[in-house]
Every structure is written in structure tokens, then in C-alpha cells.
Symmetry: C2
Subunit: 214 residues, 2 copies
């Protein structure tokens, strides 16, 4: 069985949980809690030296890391990864956009505002800085989705999963999703796909263990 | 002929120039200068709505964006993209690591220290914040390259290109590369590959035009 390391609140972990659900692949989850700093623990860095969740252990013991790489690996041979080279480049384009231009603004502001506790003056400046970048990223999505049902081609791909994860909770980072109506309609389309699971819906097939005691 | 939009100093543009050189694909370059803010100009956003270089226009007029996506597209069917699914996931893992955990620290500090001009107190705090993240990223590479000649498998892939671009100028961002000897040996291996071009070596097959007058 697949073993997924990470916490439910993480959008990067959620991406993998969404695809596992849509592919009908059962997994067990091992809690590695970001707010408690567990991704940088020696126990987890023995699994992923980068110290970031998620990590996915395959049945043969090999470990995949980086959410985008895990999505790519799992999606091969399914409709979540298109067959055409141009469309494949389009999927990766949105996935790199997400990791470079979207997540560092939208997910980081969500983390700072919702999970980080007391904020320094540097954090407050980061939030203002990220707010402009995040609104730019959402506008890029809005402009594209005003003329398209899905990010690439005529059906959902792992690009939609990658962008859905943090966009659907962007309000928790202080972003007004009502200002992006085409994004809102796309979020509803993703959420309506059969097999969709919510961010906090536990989908582990076995009781969740903790990697770090405490 | 391929048209590459971007400036020579950009590591993200350099990734594409390196692969074009190694694949023997001639291109013409159109200058879109980051320091002058030209990527966010209306003229360039008509080419790439995200407002970031590089962009690559194919002979048929279609435009690729995001350096990782461009590398993926060009490398298909060549040795720069491995045939095995596990190795492919490994390549993407390093490429996502670069865009999420390496470039935002190392390339941003290089930009702030070398190109941005006068720095605000917020910029100074960003530099300190990024310095710790960048040293962590370099240590992750060091630990891996201490036991491997290339990032994935037994030869160079687009993962090596993606990481080489900003690592080889990390000193301009205040990072002491002497502290990472395995990274240093790997940089030398990449630079010794036949067809390697330097960051500031113009490789445009035609005179460089400017997208934005001035």
C-alpha cells in the first residue's frame, strides 16, 4: 500500500490526496505536522532530505517527493496527464506557475495569517508584498478561465489539481475570491468531479500514525 | 526559426539558451529586460500574460512559457529527458525543488544584491531570510552530489540545466560556493559539456531586437 507523509492542512499534501482519490488508489497516512516543524525533523529528513511534505512511499519502498513530481508519476497512463506533447508542456507550465508565482504568495499568506501565530513586522511586510503577487496570479488564472473550462485542453488534468489546492482556500490568505468569478466557477467544477475529497476529509485507509512522537 | 524573449542575465532564460545550444537549435533573441521592468509591459504580456521571461515562440507561432515547461518540451525524444518513468519523476522533482526552494532564495538574493540598486530595510530582511533558505538548498544539492555525478541517472538531464543556471552564479547572491565542493565539481562537469555557452555569451543567430523601445 502507498504511504503518504504529511498533514491534512497542507495544500501540497492535498494535491496528492485528491489524485489518489480520483485514481482509486488507497493509501495510509503518516502525520508530519508543518506547524510543529516536523518536516525538518531528522526522522522526516531521512525520508525526504529537503524537509518538505508531501512524500509518498511506494509499495516497493521507493520514495517520491515534491507534489508536482508525485502528481506526474501517478498520472502517467491516465487521463490526468494528456497524451499530446504540447498539452503536456501546458500542464507543466501551470504547475511551475503554481509553485513559483502562486503558492509562495497565496499559500504563504494563508500560513502566516492562519497558522503562524504572532507575526513579526517582517511577516507583516511579507504579507503586503505577497498580497500583490497573489492577486496578480489569481488575475492570470481569471483571464485564462474566462475562456476555458479547464486549465489545459477539454478535461481536468493534474494542472487543475495543482492550482485547485491552494486557490480554493485563498480566502484564508486574505484573497477575495468573489473578485475572480471565472476562477470561482472553475473551483466549483473541480469540486463537483466524482471522487472529490475535501481538504480536511481524512482518506487514510488505516489509522493515522505520527512520525514524530509528542 | 525559434524566437527567445528575455535578457542574457536571467538564469531562467539561460536554461533555455543552454538547452538550445546543446540540441543545436538556432534561435533569434528579442531583448526583454528585467531590470527595466519590461516583462510586465503590455507588449510582453501579450506574449506571456504572466509577465515573466523566458518565452519561446516556435516556428508555427505558438508560444511556450515557464522555463521548466520549455525545457520539458524541447527535451522530448532526446537524452536530456530520460525514458524511464521513475527517472522522469526524479528530473521533475529537482526542477520543482529549483523553482520552489532554490531560485526564490538564491536568484532573488543575486537580483537584490547585484541589480536592484538601493535596498529598503524590507529588502535587507529578505536577503537574510533568503540566505538561510539558499544555504539549505545548496546543502541538499551537496549531500546528493557527494554520491552522484549528475542529479538523475548516469548522464546530464534538464534537471542539471535547471539547477546549474543560478547555482553557478550563487556567489553573486552572497553564497560561498567553496563550502559545497561536490556542487563545485558538478558545476565543472556541466561547464565542460561540449556546446556549453556562458551566461553572457550571445548565441542569437540574428541581431538582437528590443521588444520595448527605449
Amino acid at each position: 500500500m502507498l504511504t503518504l507523509y504529511g498533514n491534512l492542512e497542507s495544500g501540497n499534501v492535498y494535491k496528492v490526496r485528491l489524485l489518489l482519490s480520483w485514481l482509486g488508489l488507497p493509501h495510509r497516512r503518516v502525520e508530519v505536522n508543518q506547524v510543529r516543524g516536523e518536516p525538518m525533523s531528522p526522522a522526516f529528513r531521512a525520508i525526504n532530505p529537503i524537509g518538505k511534505v508531501p512524500a509518498l512511499r511506494l509499495g516497493d519502498g521507493r520514495v517520491l517527493t515534491e507534489s508536482g513530481s508525485i502528481l506526474y508519476f501517478l498520472a502517467q497512463g491516465t487521463a490526468w496527464w494528456p497524451a499530446d506533447r504540447w498539452d503536456q508542456a501546458g500542464v507543466l507550465r501551470w504547475m511551475f506557475f503554481e509553485q513559483y508565482s502562486h503558492e509562495p504568495a497565496i499559500a504563504v499568506n494563508r500560513y502566516l495569517l492562519r497558522f503562524a501565530g504572532e507575526l513579526s513586522s517582517f511577516d507583516a511586510e511579507r504579507i503586503r508584498f505577497n498580497d500583490a503577487r497573489g492577486r496578480h496570479a489569481l488575475q492570470v488564472m481569471e483571464d485564462h478561465l474566462a475562456g476555458a473550462e479547464w486549465l489545459v485542453g477539454s478535461g481536468p488534468t493534474i494542472a487543475d489539481i495543482a492550482l485547485y489546492a491552494y486557490t480554493h482556500v485563498a480566502d484564508e490568505g486574505g484573497f477575495e475570491l468573489a473578485a475572480y468569478p471565472a476562477v470561482g466557477r472553475w473551483l466549483a467544477r473541480v469540486a463537483a468531479l466524482p471522487g472529490h475529497v475535501g481538504l480536511l476529509d481524512e482518506t487514510s485507509a488505516r489509522p493515522v500514525e505520527r512520525l514524530v512522537a509528542g
